[in-house]
Symmetry: C2
Subunit: 211 residues, 2 copies
């Protein structure tokens, strides 16, 4: 995710400084609790520049929203290309999400911990954006190919990804103390095979290895 890789410390372009500052403030205080002056201060830019570049606070939010979802989309595309079966694609996405929660806190918080309709009302709902649509398509493919049981696709998608999303939110809320990748294997197993003991004659070995 380009603008977050601060390899070049000083000569960072101005719009990146503004966006990173805004993202940080939005995530930590909430969009409505952040004033343009604070963004200006943290980005070390003047107000004029902000209005020149983004046309206002909502412009920044919009740009952030599009930018981040675009990068997520590319991420999903990569997964789809590099992995064959829907099952593997789903698992890889879950793995990436767990990892990114640790390495890109702000981005994950922005995506999974904010109510975007409150500050970017004219943008499509996050569940209607490309990456999320593609993820649902993966699930549908999994049902077509027979890997997943043929149930309602909303239920299937919610079951497969609801667990990760929930655990990400708990981690962002600092309820969970260990990095998420710690739980990856357990999570995958529970998500795909269920939580009941009766199904897990074979899986029990894996579990005891994890604990």
């Amino acid at each position: 995710m380009p603008y977050l890789k601060r390899e070049a410390p000083s000569p960072e372009p101005i719009d990146c400084r503004i966006l990173t500052a805004a993202l940080d403030l939005f995530v930590n205080a909430g969009y409505h609790n952040v004033s343009v002056h604070e963004i200006q201060k943290q980005a070390d830019v003047s107000i004029g520049s902000i209005y020149k570049h983004f046309g206002g606070k909502d412009g920044i939010a919009k740009a952030l929203y599009k930018h981040i979802l675009n990068e997520m989309d590319e991420l999903v595309d990569d997964v789809i290309q590099e992995h064959q079966s829907p099952t593997k694609q789903c698992k890889e996405i879950i793995r990436l999400l767990c990892g990114y929660t640790e390495t890109h806190y702000n981005i994950m918080a922005f995506v999974f911990h904010a109510k975007h309709t409150e500050f970017v009302p004219d943008e499509p709902l996050i569940c209607n954006t490309l990456p999320f649509i593609k993820i649902r398509d993966i699930v549908k493919n999994g049902m077509k190919s027979g890997e997943f049981r043929k149930i309602d696709s909303w239920v299937a998608a919610s079951t497969i990804f609801g667990g990760v999303i929930r655990i990400i939110q708990l981690r962002l809320d600092n309820m969970i103390k260990e990095p998420l990748p710690t739980y990856y294997e357990t999570l995958i197993d529970a998500t795909f095979n269920g939580v009941l003991t009766k199904n897990t004659a074979a899986a029990d070995d894996k579990i005891s290895a994890v604990l």
Copy 2:
């Protein structure tokens, strides 16, 4: 949920009018996009009364938060008392959540569709409130009793309830067109038994019956 049952149309107590109006506005526009004047107008009360009763906008939010979580807590208690096994308790809670999404939209939206830290910062996180703690305890009990596999309790709870929460959010976002109870059986099956076909020799019959 008392103050939402408007059996007596006119002589409704003033604090209830304020709370219902506020809940409605908060849910539909977002806390920060609602002014005290709007609440006053919709509740058909004067500003003075609002400040007398709740001390301000944040007071209303706080009262709402506590009130709703209190009612959710009682709901969970009822389930715990009326159902024996953790598995049944979990399923019943999921059933109730699906139902309430249709009958108490505002409440569910307030609980599952808002970032409370942005407007009630001094209140405990929603995942640290009694009902949610009790739900996690149910999951832990299920692992002790051997009904659920003994895995990390965060993972277990996220897996079991992440699906419903996700599907509730999708329904609140109007992505899902059918009432949630429609999907209850499918959701329960997918959550507890997983989504993979290999586990579901017996379950396949149920599925084809649902579709």
